[in-house]
């Protein structure tokens, strides 16, 4: 079981594609990879693309919430797209959807961030 983080920069937006299983064991590497990419690319906004995220637990919620708070404190935004039913349920249960928007696809997420600028 492992987690792969795929990163893509599109101007001010960082797209983070998570593949595999996000738990306590893999949460640290996700946090470090995202932080590094934000600094390197000067990204203000982040899209979390979760199409290939097969499993996530509350450790995943913790790392996502942590990135959200940091981005927000710098005036940035975080949106989520392509969440599986299992991941969706965790977001719902924790109230994360009250603070970050969710979109069906990556392109919807991208246009939501571009239009709002």
């Amino acid at each position: 079981m492992s987690l792969h983080v795929d990163l893509e920069h599109q101007r001010h937006i960082l797209i983070v594609r998570l593949k595999g299983e996000l738990d306590h064991h893999t949460a640290d590497s996700v946090r470090i990879r995202i932080e590094e990419a934000i600094l390197r690319g000067g990204s203000t906004d982040v899209i979390l693309s979760l199409k290939e995220l097969a499993f996530m637990d509350s450790s995943g919620l913790g790392v996502i919430l942590g990135r959200y708070k940091l981005l927000k404190s710098r005036g940035g935004r975080m949106v989520v797209c392509d969440a599986s039913p299992g991941v969706y349920r965790l977001f719902e249960l924790s109230g994360l959807f009250k603070i970050m928007p969710i979109h069906d696809t990556e392109s919807d997420a991208l246009s939501s961030l571009e239009v709002a600028l």
């Binding site: 738990d23 064991h25 509350s58 919620l61 942590g66 039913p85 965790l90 924790s94």
Partner: protein, 153 residues
């Protein structure tokens, strides 16, 4: 006089080092055992999630990430229900009432979401936690697997 023998329980036990890489091992192993009940993808995902929550709690909170310690899991299939017991001999929980509050975490510096107990309570049909400071924590959860029944109807 013939006495009816109770059906022998179908059970498994697992004990493993309190290392984070074993969280995936634990949830996948128990999921494989439970798959004989023919659960739906959603049920299986629920069970994997609660196992991950409880094992992670034992490692981070019970043992303070001391990898020399052991976490135990026992799963029992009885009819169409599965009972999962996850236990450690760690530090225990001082205030259970507080620990069960959604979003409460005793370790905010580790970016914990504080949702572990809430998830376990929501994803399972029954949930019990017993803890003694300095002695350890034991979590017992039961879930009825619906899929097979639906198949026969």
């Amino acid at each position: 006089m013939s006495e009816r023998q109770p059906a022998a329980a179908n059970t498994m036990k697992l004990s493993f080092s309190a290392r984070s890489e074993n969280e995936a091992f634990a949830r996948v192993s128990v999921a494989a055992f439970i798959s004989q009940l023919d659960p739906t993808m959603e049920e299986l995902n629920d069970l994997k999630t609660v196992i991950s929550e409880a094992v992670t709690n034992s490692i981070i909170h019970g043992y303070d990430s001391d990898e020399t310690q052991l976490v135990s899991i026992e799963a029992t299939i009885s009819g169409d229900s599965v009972t999962i017991v996850i236990s450690d001999d760690g530090g225990g929980i001082e205030d259970l009432e507080l620990a069960r509050q959604p979003l409460y975490t005793s370790k905010p510096e580790l970016e914990r979401s504080g949702m572990g107990f809430t998830i376990m309570e929501n994803f399972m049909d029954s949930f019990e936690v017993a803890s003694e400071p300095g002695r350890g924590t034991r979590i017992a959860m039961t879930k009825r697997i619906e899929s097979k029944k639906a198949l026969y109807n």
